[in-house]
């Protein structure tokens, strides 16, 4: 295609758009458009015949760039799909149970890879305790999780705690499953 003719055409179109935009109240005037420049293109080649599918060959994958993915995320994205998992507590208890210890060990391993992270552990409770007592119970849960993290070698100044009692339940339900999800220590990354 002729380069000059093409640019003239583009300019004409742009001009008409600009004129149209600038004079909204003026009724549109029919303007002869330059005819499209003749285009001579070869018809597209027919698609290649499908090739028979071969058996997949296992490929040696390069190591997953986990660290890069996590390290480059924003704080919000990090916390939305957090590498730090919550741990759950028994009714009226702030003891870190066996499964809680596994979670905290995994969380400590992640935090050791990212020594710049600042983390806040939120203590939460289910609705079966009173609001006032739960504020202290949530504090004790967060403190228990923090103490265990510190025992695993995480510097104490990297982990802050706060209790929300039963004020911000994760599950609005009123059954055992919901209560179990709400009795938790929730990790939030606050700086990286």
């Amino acid at each position: 295609m002729n380069r000059r003719a093409y640019s003239l055409m583009v300019m004409a179109i742009l001009l008409s758009v600009v004129v149209g935009a600038c004079s909204k109240k003026v009724p549109p005037v029919a303007r002869p458009m330059p005819p499209p420049a003749p285009v001579s293109t070869a018809p597209p080649p027919p698609p290649p015949p499908p090739t028979p599918v071969s058996e997949p060959v296992p490929v040696a994958m390069p190591p997953m760039p986990v660290e890069d993915t996590i390290g480059s995320k924003s704080l919000d994205d990090l916390n939305r799909d957090s590498p730090l998992q919550p741990l759950f507590f028994d009714l009226d208890s702030s003891d870190v149970n066996a499964s809680g210890q596994v979670v905290l060990q995994a969380n400590a391993a992640v935090m050791k890879k990212y020594p710049a992270w600042q983390v806040t552990i939120e203590g939460h409770c289910d609705e079966r305790g009173t609001a006032e007592y739960n504020l202290a119970l949530g504090e004790r849960r967060a403190l228990a999780a923090r103490t265990y993290m510190v025992s695993l070698g995480i510097p104490a100044d990297k982990v802050k705690i706060v209790s929300y009692g039963k004020e911000f339940p994760f599950d609005a339900g009123h059954d055992d499953a919901a209560w179990g999800r709400n009795r938790r220590a929730h990790f939030v990354i606050t700086a990286k």
């Binding site: 079966r128 009173t130 007592y133 202290a136 504090e139 004790r140 004020e167 994760f170």
Partner: protein
């Protein structure tokens, strides 16, 4: 005569109601009063052993404008509700005397008709527009004696006619029944009704802000605007400040809002995590819970944060303090013997003793004199109910019975009522109830509303 500064005070209160921003305002002072023409004050009595039967017809509007007409009806409706609230009078339902002609003037009362209805007393009043507001005159007539038993005249702004009814109700309760009414008291509580999200959290969390309302739920307005979680507001004894737990800095801390001056105080100066503050009865000190020394303990400090004194020293949870009416003891919650129970201790840390023996007890709140009782929330099943423990008798009685979960009781200043939060209306709402469990009234409806506290 119109009192100019009073008018600006009253209109200022209304301004405050319309605005989330707390500006420098005077408190809601009652309207000025001048003694009415009558100098006779007689005690109204009912049949022996029964409260006086009282009728409260619409006040007579002496001006024909809409505002005066509305005020006349509103004042009589609110006065009826205020007098009904204390159960010191037997209020005759207003629709049963619609046919009785309105008094032609405040002095022309058809006593025979009221006698026929069985009324011992009737409140007749007038509302008149003045160049700067309204003049409201009310008289309690003794129907049998056919004479005025009590009378008052008020002048002030027309912006909030309810205040005239509240003031008259308190005066009638005091003069006729020797009862300190609560018609001019207020509630503070927290609410998530604005549906604003707490910032910097991944999952949506609604902010909880401090609100105040008249005792009957009228004039609800927001006090804090820090867009975070605020909990457990509690009045100063003079009603000019509210102390509360705020997450404004990210962790719970004690804040004092001087709601009429529009200023704030941070007595803990940011040291540690601090929550559940309550003013001492004289307003000079605060008891609160803090984890500054490792786990939650009860501390007392002066209002400005000085003279910090630790009361409890236990690896268990110690929380939720409340002062005795004389300020000489503090009750609180502790799980030092297993489940949470109520304990009492002296402000110097001596004299610890357990007073509740429930499966789970929390949120003690010490009644005002002359009662010597502690109300608290007790686990009674899947949820909680409000119970009252007599300190001297050691006996406990229950005043809610499993309708929803009922928590966070707070006494009215006359000790005759409690505010509490309940899930009985589907969500968490504020209710009031009398000390005998009767007269349950819902105070809030919008959003979730929690942890009430009743002004002095």
């Amino acid at each position: 005569m119109m009192n100019r500064s009073l008018a600006s005070k009253l209109s200022g209160v209304m301004l405050l109601a319309a605005s989330a921003i707390v500006a420098a305002q005077q408190p809601a002072t009652p309207p000025s009063q001048t003694p009415a023409q009558t100098s006779v004050e007689l005690r109204l009595t009912g049949e022996p052993g029964t409260p006086p039967r009282l009728a409260v017809p619409d006040l007579l509007a002496l001006s024909s404008d809409r505002e005066t007409q509305d005020a006349a009806r509103a004042i009589s409706e609110v006065l009826f509700a205020d007098l009904d609230f204390e159960r010191e009078f037997a209020l005759i339902p207003r629709d049963t005397y619609k046919s009785i002609p309105a008094a032609g003037s405040i002095d022309a009362v058809p006593f025979d008709r009221w006698r026929e209805l069985g009324a011992d007393g009737v409140i007749i009043g007038t509302v008149q527009k003045t160049p700067s507001g309204v003049r409201v005159e009310m008289r309690l007539y003794n129907v049998r004696a056919r004479q005025s038993a009590y009378g008052r005249e008020y002048t002030g702004s027309a912006a909030n006619p309810r205040i005239y009814a509240h003031t008259m109700a308190d005066e009638l309760h005091l003069s006729q029944r020797q009862v300190r009414g609560v018609a001019r008291t207020k509630l503070t509580f927290i609410s998530d009704r604005n549906r604003e999200a707490v910032m910097a959290t991944v999952e949506k969390r609604d902010v909880k802000e401090v609100f105040v309302a008249d005792y009957d739920g009228a004039n609800q307005r927001r006090i804090t605007i820090n867009r975070t979680m605020n909990l457990y507001p509690s009045w100063s004894p003079d009603g000019r400040a509210i102390v509360y737990t705020s997450y404004r800095s990210g962790v719970p801390d004690v804040l004092i809002s001087n709601i009429y001056a529009g200023t704030m105080e941070s007595p803990t100066k940011g040291v540690g995590q601090n929550w559940l503050p309550v003013f001492s009865p004289d307003g000079s000190r605060l008891a609160f819970t803090t984890s500054r020394d490792g786990n939650s303990e009860i501390y007392v400090m002066n209002r400005d944060g000085s003279n910090l004194n630790r009361l409890t020293n236990s690896p268990a949870i110690d929380t939720t303090p409340t002062w005795s009416p004389t300020g000489t003891q503090i009750a609180f919650t502790s799980d030092r013997r297993g489940q949470p129970q109520i304990f009492v201790i002296n402000p110097d840390g001596t004299g610890l003793r357990q007073i509740s023996f429930e499966s789970y007890a929390d949120r003690p709140t010490w009644s005002p004199a002359p009662y010597n009782e502690i109300a608290f929330a007790a686990r009674t099943g899947p949820g909680y109910d409000i119970k009252i423990l007599g300190i001297a008798s050691g006996e406990t009685r229950q005043i809610t019975f499993g309708e929803g979960s009922n928590e966070s009781p707070a006494w009215s200043p006359n000790g005759r009522h409690l505010a509490f939060m309940s899930t009985r209306a589907g969500r968490s709402q504020i209710f009031t109830v009398d000390r005998d469990g009767r007269n349950v009234r819902q105070v809030t409806k919008d959003g979730n509303n929690q942890t009430p506290n009743w002004s002095q």
